[in-house]
């Protein structure tokens, strides 16, 4: 107990005695604020489980997700098939697990695209103002005016179905919100005294944008991303449902829900269980995002 309390004192001190202590104390503060919120931790656990499942999917699946067994079609959940089997005799549990890979891939790829790109556009628009701002925000407004799912459908229709195209379609429609977020933060930061001080020291524009402005935009972008994940998953599922996402026989949760549509009344597990997976993961990202917002959303002052 005493060792723990001395460690805690060391981490929560207001007068750090070394660079390391100073930095660790800062990280600890953030960590502690997050961990105090049980729902946030719940969200983190769900996301962690998703990542774990995705990484270790081949090791975890009891059956080959693609192996059909027409003799065992539409079996209800049981000891041998935890989630039952679908219309081709494939084990749904294995397909849900391996579908996590697809979901995670989509979510990560989209996040990597829309987060940094949206942020960059917003920061540039906010910092330079004038015609640059008007032009970039005009483009943002135009993209934002379209309903996301419809636009994604249109892109997929043009590009053709498939996982990569689904990712691109979702990404193209998703970045405007981040540009707006980053622009709003930049506008308020631009005139802040410590930024002016950096300019007076001779800092180049690039240095200011990367080291002074971007670090403050990143928390809101991350929070928005985690909250958006749920939406992204649903759009991907929607595309999958319409047959425009990952193609069969790949296990993708949305496609699985679609396939189970015809059997919904009496063989409910075929559609419902993948749907539940979509729900749980969306919820997990939502809770995580809320938790992160509570931790990070302190005004700069």
């Amino acid at each position: 107990m005493r060792i723990v309390s001395t460690w805690l004192d060391w981490l929560t001190t207001d007068a750090p005695e070394s660079r390391l202590q100073g930095r660790l104390a800062q990280s600890y503060q953030t960590f502690y604020r997050f961990v105090r919120n049980p729902l946030a931790v719940c969200g983190l656990v769900i996301v962690a489980v998703l990542v774990g499942l995705a990484i270790f999917a081949p090791l975890l699946v009891p059956y080959d997700p693609l192996a059909t067994d027409l003799g065992s079609r539409l079996l209800p959940p049981s000891a041998s098939h935890w989630f039952g089997t679908d219309h081709l005799g494939r084990d749904i549990f294995s397909r849900v697990i391996s579908g996590s890979r697809v979901t995670l891939t989509i979510v990560l790829l989209v996040a990597i695209l829309i987060g940094p790109i949206g942020m960059a556009i917003g920061i540039v628009a906010g910092y330079f103002g004038g015609t640059t701002d008007r032009f970039l925000m005009g483009v943002t407004d135009v993209v934002m005016a379209f309903p996301r799912l419809i636009l994604a459908l249109a892109f997929v229709a043009v590009l053709g179905p498939g996982l990569e195209n689904a990712v691109i379609a979702i990404a193209i429609t998703g970045w405007p919100a981040y540009a707006r977020l980053a622009r709003a933060e930049t506008l308020s930061l631009r005139q802040r005294e410590f930024v002016v001080a950096a300019r007076l020291q001779g800092a180049s524009v690039v240095r200011i944008l990367i080291r002074y402005i971007a670090p403050f935009c990143i928390p809101s972008v991350i929070i928005r991303l985690t909250l958006d994940m749920a939406g992204i998953i649903l759009i991907a599922a929607g595309l999958g449902f319409l047959g425009l996402g990952a193609q069969p026989p790949a296990a993708e949760w949305g496609a699985m829900v679609a396939a189970g549509r015809d059997y919904l009344i009496d063989k409910w597990w075929v559609a419902t269980l993948p749907g539940a997976a979509i729900f749980v993961v969306s919820l997990g990202f939502n809770l995580l995002g809320d938790g992160l917002r509570d931790v990070f959303d302190r005004r700069v002052n």
Binding site: D14, A15, P16, E17, S18, R19, Q21, G22, R23, Q26, Q191, R192, E193, F194, V196, A197, A198, R199, L200, Q201, G202, A203, S204, R207, Y212, P215, V300, N301
Partner: protein, 265 residues
């Protein structure tokens, strides 16, 4: 070292020369035809109430306000200076709000190192130590983050940051207005000491006559963007002023102090 050139290099007589400065935001003329000069090593005070344009003049000098008119710092036009990194280091600024003046995510050490890194100056460890010592902060403070410092300590870090590049001109925008009176006394003493030791040219903006008269031998009074009067320190102490606005200002400040002096002399 300067190489021989056909154009004679003269040391400008004044560190700061401002002529006919006008700053207009939209349809509002915030600074109207203000002219003044600051000699090398002098501390000039700019006093005015809110809306007088005093902070805007500093913004114009640092290039963050749309200015028309002539502004020369150390013999070079202000606009030309802003373009060259080497020149920016000779003019630095201390701001009013100690809470917004420091990067909240950087440690004190990083805050002090940043100007050195930008200007490509070496020997950083020694300079940072010297810098902290010159503002009276213990060396251990360098690992702290701004939220672990009091207002007065933050302002000291801000002053250290401004001086680490060894500027010749220091612009001060109400550096003690947000501080408690006891902390203000310490910071003013520090600024006066640094002024003496380094022969800095200072332009001190404020609204508190007592503070400005303490720091500056010569004071310019601004009202609604116009230069009303220039006063010497003795004139403030003896309450002499020629312009009605200045007289009103002196009276208002003195009113509380005089009755206070009755109670506290």
């Amino acid at each position: 070292m300067k190489h021989a050139s056909s154009v004679p290099v003269t040391t400008p007589a004044n560190a700061l020369d401002v002529k006919n400065l006008c700053v207009t935001y939209g349809s509002a003329r915030v600074v109207n035809d203000v002219s003044f000069s600051v000699a090398h090593g002098e501390c000039l005070g700019l006093i005015g109430e809110s809306g007088s344009g005093k902070s805007t003049i500093l913004k114009a000098l640092t290039g963050t306000a749309p200015a028309a008119g002539m502004m020369e710092i150390l013999g070079m036009p202000a606009s030309a200076r802003a373009r060259d990194k080497r020149h920016t280091r000779s003019v630095q600024m201390v701001f009013q709000d100690p809470y917004a003046a420091l990067h909240p995510r950087h440690s004190v050490e990083r805050i002090l190192e940043e100007p050195l890194a930008i200007q490509g100056i070496g020997d950083r460890e020694a300079k940072i130590r010297a810098s902290l010592a010159s503002v009276g902060l213990p060396l251990g403070f360098r690992f702290r983050y701004p939220h672990q410092l009091s207002g007065g300590q933050r302002q000291r870090v801000a002053i250290a940051r401004a001086l680490i590049l060894e500027p010749e001109v220091l612009l001060l925008d109400e550096p003690t207005s947000a501080l408690d009176v006891s902390v203000q006394a310490e910071v003013l003493n520090l600024l006066a000491k640094l002024h003496r030791e380094r022969g800095l040219t200072m332009l001190f903006v404020g609204h508190d006559l007592g503070v400005i008269a303490h720091m500056c031998a010569r004071v310019i009074v601004l009202n609604k963007g116009e230069l009303v009067e220039t006063l010497m320190r003795d004139q403030i102490y003896s309450g002499q002023a020629t312009q009605p606005y200045t007289q009103q200002l002196l009276r208002a400040t003195n009113l509380e102090q005089r009755s206070a002096n009755r109670n506290m002399a």
